[in-house]
């Protein structure tokens, strides 16, 4: 049965749901069993111990606080930027600028900000060089502080582009007549936002909130890099238990992550349940394009340049760093330059080429699978109302809500048993986990923007299922597919832990080859590796962009 020929939502979503359940299910069960030490005597003692441990509770609260603050600030900044900039952001170049921070893995971005804003960072050094202060410690201490300012800054800087990516399609489909209506009825700006924008924006904001929140609360790299000794975020503690020298601590890692996971998934499910109704009405859009006018036209230019600066400054510093041999604190310019960093990266020669090809191949395959599975699922979610929809939505989103170490053990055991561990097929399949939810999310928004009516017209004019997809949906889904290409390649390339475990060293992607270098002290090496790394998604993006142009020559505007 071909999915595009059916309109049964269960059939449309079956592949996505099955693959999610297959990958997640065993993993979660294993994690839970491990956490209750099922192999000797099942007991909940670890949970009791953790929940009465002061350090653990402090850590949970600290994690929740950091995640909450970073998420809220990201959402607000993202919302303001999108509201003021969406006509500008429709063009490709500004969009690429807005998305740029996403091509850098989180910890690299954290590292870039560290280079800029630490007490001995470039800004501090510059101020010192200009004679504005004497000692590095006169510069505000933003990193490794007990409040987590550095972590929050990094996440906000990184997540704002993601918020933009999620919100932009919504603003592109808002109609300006509705806004005018509110104005003529005596409404103010706020009323316009509340009555016209909120109903569309709010559900997406909520979803974005959960994605970002869940990510921040369970991600390891940034707090490990920039966090203070005390308090530590939960993922740092869990990783330590998981990878630490004392293997008897491993169940603690699982228990901590299970607690976190339950908490997140429960909240998400409840939210879907309660906001279900709002979204249905939004799906009845007619698909007409509206002329767009930004709210604050005069500020939008200024804002865009601020955004441009914020994006390019860290990247500029990174490029510069990759050539710096020595840059003493307080000097305005580096005292000596070198290409050593680049040399170190590129002497790998054949290994490097192999890694580039492997990475490209894997991300393209992951992308292909994502589209094959994601397109029908997204359509099903966009156009159908059915029993258990909230459950399916939560399930399809859950892979990004669940920390990867929770499911790593189960997935690895399964993959070993069916023989796809230590093989690229396993890596490709496991990469579906962190990518598929985004794909479905973005494509669903795309389908909702097009609306169902055009399909009816086309069908009535004699278009078969494939004809409808090829001629009506596909061309109009291009902007969404573009976002998917971007997100999926970036995420797939950035996967270190899952690739290392499942690929087992047989599959040498860029991440596997270069992540170890992050442990060197040589900034030039780290910087050149970071740049190289960020280039790959851009290359993929350009490749796909070129292909799209060939396949679909004409695109309106």
């Amino acid at each position: 049965m071909k999915w595009f020929r059916t309109s049964n939502p269960y059939v449309l979503m079956a592949p996505a749901v099955l693959i999610t359940i297959l990958l997640l299910g065993y993993g979660i069960v294993m994690a839970f069993l491990e956490s209750i030490k099922y192999y000797n005597q099942p007991t909940l003692s670890i949970y009791r111990e953790l929940l009465s441990d002061e350090i653990f509770i402090t850590s949970i609260l600290y994690s929740l606080r950091i995640a909450f603050i970073s998420t809220i600030i990201s959402l607000l900044i993202g919302l303001i930027l999108v509201r003021s900039l969406y006509p500008v952001l429709r063009s490709k170049f500004p969009k690429l600028i807005a998305w740029m921070p996403m091509v850098f893995p989180h910890f690299i971005w954290g590292y870039m900000l560290f280079l800029l804003f630490s007490q001995t960072g470039y800004i501090s050094s510059l101020l010192n060089g200009m004679g504005l202060h004497d000692q590095p410690n006169e510069f505000p201490n933003l990193f490794k502080d007990s409040f987590g300012i550095g972590i929050i800054i990094t996440y906000v800087w990184k997540e704002v582009p993601f918020v933009i990516l999620m919100l932009l399609p919504v603003y592109e489909q808002l109609s300006s007549p509705q806004k005018e209506l509110v104005y003529t009825l005596g409404g103010r700006r706020w009323d316009v936002f509340w009555h016209v924008e909120r109903p569309y924006v709010f559900p997406v904001m909520l979803e974005t909130f959960f994605i970002v929140f869940a990510f921040v609360v369970s991600a390891y790299e940034v707090p490990a890099l920039l966090g203070a000794t005390y308090p530590k975020m939960i993922p740092v503690i869990s990783y330590d238990w998981f990878f630490g020298s004392d293997w008897t601590k491993q169940p603690y890692a699982f228990a901590a992550m299970v607690i976190l996971t339950l908490f997140i998934v429960l909240i998400v499910f409840l939210t879907y349940l309660f906001t279900r109704k709002g979204r249905i009405h939004l799906a009845q859009s007619s698909g007409a394009f509206h002329d767009l006018q930004a709210e604050n036209r005069k500020y939008s230019r200024v804002l865009f340049f601020v955004m441009l600066g914020m994006t390019l400054l860290p990247i500029f510093i990174l490029v510069l760093t990759s050539f710096v041999q020595r840059w003493t604190y307080g000097e305005l310019l580096p005292s000596s330059l070198t290409i050593r960093g680049w040399h170190e990266m590129l002497w790998h020669g054949p290994k490097f080429i192999e890694a580039v090809y492997t990475s490209l191949g894997i991300s393209l395959l992951v992308l292909l699978l994502n589209l094959l599975i994601g397109l029908p699922a997204a359509k099903g979610l966009a156009f159908h109302i059915f029993q258990g929809k909230s459950l399916v939505e939560t399930l399809l989103l859950s892979p990004i809500l669940i920390p990867s170490i929770v499911i790593a053990l189960g997935v690895h055991l399964t993959f070993i048993k069916i023989g796809i561990a230590n093989h690229w097929t396993g890596v490709v399949i496991v990469h579906l986990l962190p990518t598929l939810p985004y794909t479905i999310k973005v494509l669903r928004a795309g389908y909702e923007r097009i609306g169902k009516r055009q399909e009816e017209i086309a069908v009535s004019l004699g278009a078969g299922a494939w004809g409808v997809f090829r001629n009506v949906y596909l061309p109009q889904l291009i902007p969404s597919i573009r976002s998917v290409v971007f997100l999926v390649t970036v995420i797939s390339l950035g996967q270190y832990f899952l690739t290392a475990l499942i690929g087992g060293g047989e599959v040498n992607t860029m991440a596997i080859l270069f992540f170890p270098y992050f442990q060197t002290t040589n900034d030039a090496v780290i910087a050149s590796f970071s740049i190289l790394f960020a280039m790959i998604p851009i290359v993929v993006w350009l490749l796909i962009e070129g292909t799209l142009r060939l396949v679909i020559p004409k695109q309106p505007r």
Binding site: A288, E456, S460, L461, G462
Partner: protein, 311 residues
């Protein structure tokens, strides 16, 4: 027995325990234009969607041109559906939009563009081939949408309030040439509207629907002169239903309020048009509203009497 081009029998459709459509029988002749009217929410659009195959009836049969199509998928039905808004595909230019049906029928590119250009000429869209939908006016969009529908030579065309997004003048103009075009193509048309004038002007016959049931299907003249029931009468505002008998407006006359005979009425609106005063009257003790003409000016709020005149 008379042959019918479209024949619907025992159609029933229920949404969430609510019956939206229940038709014993609906028969349309070839080349006929049927206007479908009725209060909103009476299943007009549902009727069209059932015929187009976009929805499935719970029971009943649909025949078109002697063929059973109840279980035929929508793309294989000889039927084209047109929405309220033009719904041109925003990512295709006008020519591609018009040619869409032919493309789906796997007509060669050269041939389909040739035919489409011809069709565009017929609907007066010459020269707009490479424009995109957002670049043309509302009226042009409707013409393009019509051209897109007609190019596949459907046996039946279903129009769902196709003019509702146009302004009054444009509507009138558009409906005139559409009627002309449809007649010249000899296409059978079902046309949903909420505008009575439009329904009468365009339809050879008019179907009045209420609460999912067909009330009456007749020519405009018959509808006005002899409605089947009080609903049709009051819906069309064509006269007064009194003592199980219908008196059409054409047999009614306005008189002063102190007359002995006649029925009491209140003037609720007056306007001057075509050299006469028109007054809209609300008949006392009934829901009927009618419009009569008079030579003298009457004021809103005045009480008058309405007489039946012999013809």
């Amino acid at each position: 027995m008379e042959s019918h081009f479209i024949e619907l029998s025992d159609i029933r459709k229920v949404y969430k325990d609510k019956e939206v459509l229940n038709l014993n029988q609906l028969r349309v002749r070839k080349g006929e234009i049927i206007s479908v009217v009725g209060p909103s929410g009476t299943g007009k659009s549902t009727l069209l969607r059932l015929i187009a195959g976009l929805e499935k009836a719970d029971t009943g049969e649909i025949m078109i041109d002697g063929e059973q199509i109840t279980n035929v998928p929508p793309q294989q039905r000889p039927v084209v559906y047109m929405f309220q808004e033009s719904l041109l595909f925003p990512h295709m230019n006008v020519l591609e939009n018009v040619a869409f049906g032919l493309k789906m029928a796997k007509v060669s590119k050269k041939k389909r563009y040739e035919k489409s250009k011809e069709m565009m000429k017929r609907v007066g869209l010459e020269g707009l081939e490479s424009d995109f939908p957002h670049e043309i006016s509302g009226g042009q969009k409707q013409r393009a949408a019509l051209a897109r529908s007609l190019i596949v030579h459907p046996k039946v065309l279903l129009l769902d309030e196709p003019f509702s997004s146009l302004d009054t003048e444009l509507r009138k103009e558009t409906r005139r040439w559409i009627k002309h075009l449809l007649k010249s193509e000899n296409i059978t048309v079902l046309f949903v509207t909420h505008d009575l004038e439009e329904a009468m002007a365009l339809g050879d016959r008019v179907a009045v629907l209420n609460k999912g049931k067909l009330q009456q299907l007749d020519s405009p003249h018959v509808l006005y002169e002899s409605p089947f029931n009080p609903f049709v009468a009051s819906f069309l505002q064509g006269g007064i239903w009194t003592e199980e008998r219908f008196i059409p407006v054409s047999s009614l006359k306005l008189g002063r309020h102190d007359n002995q005979n006649g029925r009491k009425a209140e003037v609720i609106e007056t306007y001057y048009q075509d050299g006469k005063f028109h007054c809209v009257l609300s008949i006392e003790h009934s829901e009927a509203i009618i419009t009569l003409t008079t030579r003298e000016k009457v004021n809103v709020g005045e009480h008058v009497k309405v007489f039946e005149v012999e013809r």
